[in-house]
């Protein structure tokens, strides 16, 4: 894999030599995240977020498996079993708050990871497969997070499940039947809760499997870097261990600091008070809103308020799923051979606009649906689609990229010599 100058695993201990002959697991680790994986020397802190996402998934699995030992997936007792975890299980409150906020932390680091990929063109050749698998992971995470939010069987759990499975009823003719089939009933109930629990337990392991493929696919071309320029010589790289294990250590520390601040001091800040009311099919909450990480997509859904050939609801559902599925086509929508936005002034301006746009969508998704917010949501949704589907294919034709550095090493030396313009210094 990767570069010819990559170090080879040479076990000196007889035991390790013996193990390497029978099952070369240490060799696999050595080549994946050890000294055997050469990585560009100029990665910035945005390259910490892949490792952080892996850590977040691991923590979710550990806390989740433990919570599952105490949780009961039955509509009559689910809410009470969560309360008994909070009150009677040793450190149960810690496990539950860590798991609930862990989902937010996982999505947060993954959003930053995706934004990093967009900014530095990590989706482009030769890393298309890394990106495609990444989008699959993102979809799996969204499904897992949604089903996990249903499990406490509070008001938002129930009504969230009602709304999200309701999307399928927008499909013409067969939609309602599909919805009933998915739920195992006419409304969310025991059947739905049980299958959501089953899948919520399964999907993280599927995600872990896809992550292994994601990393495998990454190791063939090797990591991208802030200049987007290919690795040309050994001088451009450093071994992953100890250089990036040390740097990731710092990232892990800061991540844990933020995570702990949420768990111990604001554990309910990202949740909704209505989820501390037990699910009641006869009482609809005043505002049904999803968790923060779904708000931009919820805003897109709500922005389609006009029937045109298709009913408005179907447009909304198509657009909402489309807004994520279009990411699969990104490597072919963006034709510019230059990867890093640092050298693409026009693309960079549009990308910054997109980041602001997604934040606006997030605000609108959670806000009251008054005329001002709906208009904001409609404009922001339009920009979201225009950005990916229209601007991206066109901008690379009209854009003149800034000159690229000769090599990664050259960029690093220029930066330290202070001869490069300020913007290259970011690279």
């Amino acid at each position: 894999m990767s570069f010819p100058w990559a170090k080879h695993y040479e076990p000196k201990q007889p035991l390790m030599r013996w193990l390497d002959e029978k099952l070369p697991l240490p060799r696999l680790v050595y080549n994946a995240v050890g000294a055997g994986y050469p990585v560009p020397r100029n990665l910035n802190y945005f390259w910490n977020f892949g490792v952080l996402a892996g850590l977040a998934l691991t923590l979710q699995i550990v806390t989740g498996v433990t919570l599952a030992m105490h949780y009961a997936a039955n509509g009559a007792v689910a809410f009470g079993s969560v309360e008994s975890i909070m009150r009677d299980v040793n450190a149960g409150w810690f496990l539950r708050y860590a798991h609930a906020n862990g989902a937010s932390m996982f999505l947060l680091v993954v959003y930053i990871h995706i934004a990093r990929g967009l900014y530095y063109g990590s989706y482009k050749a030769p890393r298309e497969m890394v990106w495609l698998l990444g989008v699959v992971i993102f979809l799996l995470m969204m499904a897992t997070a949604f089903m996990g939010y249903v499990l406490p069987w509070g008001q938002m759990s129930f009504w969230g499940a009602q709304v999200i499975t309701g999307f399928f009823s927008a499909i013409p003719l067969v939609g309602e039947s599909i919805r009933i089939w998915l739920l195992g009933g006419y409304a969310p109930d025991n059947a739905a809760l049980n299958r959501f629990f089953s899948l919520h337990y399964l999907l993280p392991f599927v995600t872990a499997g896809v992550i292994i493929m994601h990393i495998w696919a990454l190791h063939i071309p090797g990591s991208n870097n802030p200049t987007g320029v290919d690795v040309k010589s050994e001088a451009d790289t450093v071994p992953f261990h100890p250089y990036y294990t040390a740097k990731d250590g710092v990232g892990v520390g800061v991540f844990m600091l933020v995570f702990a601040a949420f768990i111990f001091f604001a554990p309910n800040m990202l949740g909704h008070p209505d989820n501390y009311i037990e699910a009641n099919p006869l009482s609809t909450p005043a505002h049904i809103v999803p968790e923060w990480y779904f708000l931009p997509f919820y805003a897109i859904l709500k922005s389609f308020t006009a029937d045109f050939i298709l009913p408005a609801k179907l447009w909304g559902v198509l657009a909402m799923f489309g807004s994520i599925l279009l990411l699969f086509f990104l490597p072919w929508l963006d034709t510019s051979p230059v990867r890093s936005a640092n050298f693409r002034p026009r693309y960079r301006a549009f990308l910054v606009a997109l980041l602001v746009d997604v934040l606006i969508l997030g605000y609108v998704g959670g806000a009251e649906a008054n005329a001002r917010n709906v208009v904001m949501g409609q404009l922001a949704s339009a920009y979201y689609f225009l950005h990916f589907l229209v601007i991206l294919p066109l901008v690379s034709r009209s854009e003149r990229p800034r000159p690229l550095p000769m090599s990664i090493t050259q960029a690093v030396l220029d930066k330290h010599a202070g001869t490069s313009p300020a913007k290259t210094a970011m690279a």
Partner: protein, 282 residues
């Protein structure tokens, strides 16, 4: 081909959004959403300023015991506390014999089955029991309360936005008041219906619960604190903060320890990073 399709799909979504936008704007002009009474007259909760609030808050046990007394003598007539057990009261400073006595003296008994005849009946509460519900079931609760179910209070301070302050404000001395004349002038058809009570801290302004704290000294505190209406509202808000989050103190204490521990880890990790990279420009 992919790019051409993408541009067409993008144009289609944008066109439909344009139509929707036109609809939103024209509706906003021709038929603007009416102002609502809730929008103009709902009040945000007042700050109860309890010791448990804030990032390092701890409970004031004497206040929790006073709040429990208010719950016992006022709220418990209608509201259950189904996730809290009598034994939990030991955590707010009652001794084991005191808890036993509180449980067995509790007016509402625990539903049970006679061990010999199998007949349904009730028995005295014991410390391991949850607080019994004042009503046998939801229908009984509705029948006794003008068709409104008094909600369980165990989690109330977490089940409402800004819950502790909300409880304090909702039953505090200035909560229940006559409907303001200004409101009736602006919205003549939202007069508080019979059987409901105007309360600006309640989401839709009209609450079914009659004023629970009507006079000073409604409860006689055993610790000598003057039981003003404000004090009782504060104390019961404190008690319900504890019932919703009994592990709050352990959480805050563990949090400080965790932050210090992780901060030391960060410091060491930063040092290791500097050390490893000292000879490599990057």
């Amino acid at each position: 081909m992919v790019r051409l399709l993408a541009i067409l799909i993008g144009a289609a979504f944008t066109f439909v959004l344009g139509l929707a936008l036109f609809g939103t704007v024209s509706t906003a002009i021709t038929d603007p959403a009416p102002e609502t009474a809730e929008h103009g007259f709902h009040l945000h909760p007042k700050d109860a300023a309890l010791s448990s609030q804030g990032y390092t808050g701890t409970f004031d046990r004497r206040q929790l015991q006073r709040g429990f007394q208010v719950y016992k003598e006022v709220c418990a007539a209608c509201h259950s506390l189904k996730y809290v057990s009598f034994r939990d009261l030991e955590r707010i400073g009652y001794s084991e014999p005191e808890v036993k006595k509180i449980a067995s003296d509790w007016v509402i008994e625990q539903p049970s089955v006679n061990g010999e005849t199998g007949e349904a009946g009730t028995r005295k509460n014991i410390p391991s029991d949850r607080f019994p519900s004042p009503f046998a079931n939801e229908i009984a609760a509705r029948a006794a309360n003008n068709n409104a179910v008094p909600p369980d209070l165990s989690l109330m301070t977490k089940a409402r936005h800004d819950g502790t302050n909300y409880i304090y404000s909702l039953i505090g001395p200035d909560a229940y008041r006559p409907q303001p004349a200004a409101l009736l002038r602006e919205f003549p058809d939202v007069k508080t219906p019979n059987g409901l009570h105007y309360n600006p801290y309640f989401a839709n302004l009209n609450i079914a619960m009659p004023p629970p704290l009507t006079a000073d000294n409604q409860v006689t505190y055993t610790d000598g604190t003057r039981a003003t209406r404000d004090q009782m509202a504060k104390d019961v808000a404190a008690f319900l903060t504890w019932t919703a989050e009994p592990n709050l103190e352990a959480r805050h204490a563990a949090g400080l320890a965790a932050l210090v521990f992780i901060a030391i880890f960060c410091f060491l990790a930063w040092g290791a990073y500097q050390n490893v990279w000292r000879d490599v420009k990057h």
